[in-house]
């Protein structure tokens, strides 16, 4: 049989910060995500489950990642934070319409 089989692997990474994300440490998160992008990762799951606080600088990092990954054919999924107030901020800013949201990292991974 004449078969031409090719394998396409798209690297997906799950990033799960476990502390508050604010204007002080958002640059550190941005640098870590940039490093993953430059290393070839295209699909990202940002697991916010254990992020107790997220400010606009942290949100800017998420949007920047979304734009950069989509520019390179990838995408970003967000896992809802456990903190109710943080969930409401995601709804207030309509991030839940821009990002595909998931309840767990496992669910986000199956969604790509």
């Amino acid at each position: 049989m004449d078969l031409n089989i090719s394998e396409h692997i798209v690297r997906t990474v799950v990033v799960a910060p476990r502390q508050r994300i604010d204007a002080f440490n958002a640059p550190e998160l941005r640098a870590a995500l940039d490093q993953q992008l430059e290393g070839g990762a295209r699909r990202f799951v940002l697991d916010l489950t254990n992020v107790p606080f997220l400010d606009s600088a942290g949100m800017a990092v998420l949007v920047r990642l979304l734009k950069r990954s989509r520019d390179q054919g990838g995408d970003v999924r967000l896992v809802w934070p456990t903190e109710e107030a943080a969930r409401r901020i995601i709804k207030l800013t309509k991030f839940d319409r821009v990002f595909t949201m998931a309840d767990t990292a496992e669910a986000a991974l199956t969604d790509f």
């Binding site: 604010d22 204007a23 002080f24 400010d55 606009s56 600088a57 107030a85 943080a86 901020i89």
Partner: protein, 141 residues
């Protein structure tokens, strides 16, 4: 704002490194106010609003230069019960009218800070004074 006897005053270096200190103080202050509806959400929202103004001062009033200070006064007022937060700096003037509201239908990287502060508080007022800037935030409790 007239300084009430039980007002809390914080004198912080104008650096984002201290955002967690500011947040912890605000949360501790609010934690002991009785009868707040949804206390955890309310405290988070107030912390986030003040966090955004503080970070804005660090970036714009002081241009991320070291040496600046930010004075934060927090007090509970009555009739109606509300939390008053005054934030002062001695940096350059800021024009809040020049900041466009974010287009929520088209996600963007920047521009959510003041939007969040205004959305989460009942009032956010800015004034330029002779020696700096004053922000006054009000949240009815």
């Amino acid at each position: 704002m007239e300084l009430h006897s039980d007002a809390l005053r914080l004198d912080l270096p104008a650096a984002n490194k201290y955002l967690n200190v500011l947040g912890a103080c605000l949360n501790a202050f609010i934690e002991r106010i009785e009868g707040i509806a949804e206390p955890r959400v309310t405290a988070y929202n107030i912390e986030l609003a003040v966090n955004e103004i503080f970070a804005n001062i660090v970036a714009h009033a002081y241009g991320d230069a070291p040496g600046g200070r930010v004075d934060v006064v927090v007090m509970l007022a009555s009739d109606p019960r509300r939390l008053l937060i005054a934030i002062r700096d001695t940096g350059i003037a800021f024009d809040p009218t020049a900041v466009a509201e974010p287009d929520l239908e088209d996600v963007q990287i920047n521009g959510y800070g003041l939007f969040l502060a205004r959305s989460l508080m009942d009032d956010v007022a800015y004034a330029r004074c002779a020696d700096g800037n004053t922000w006054q935030l009000i949240k009815h409790l």
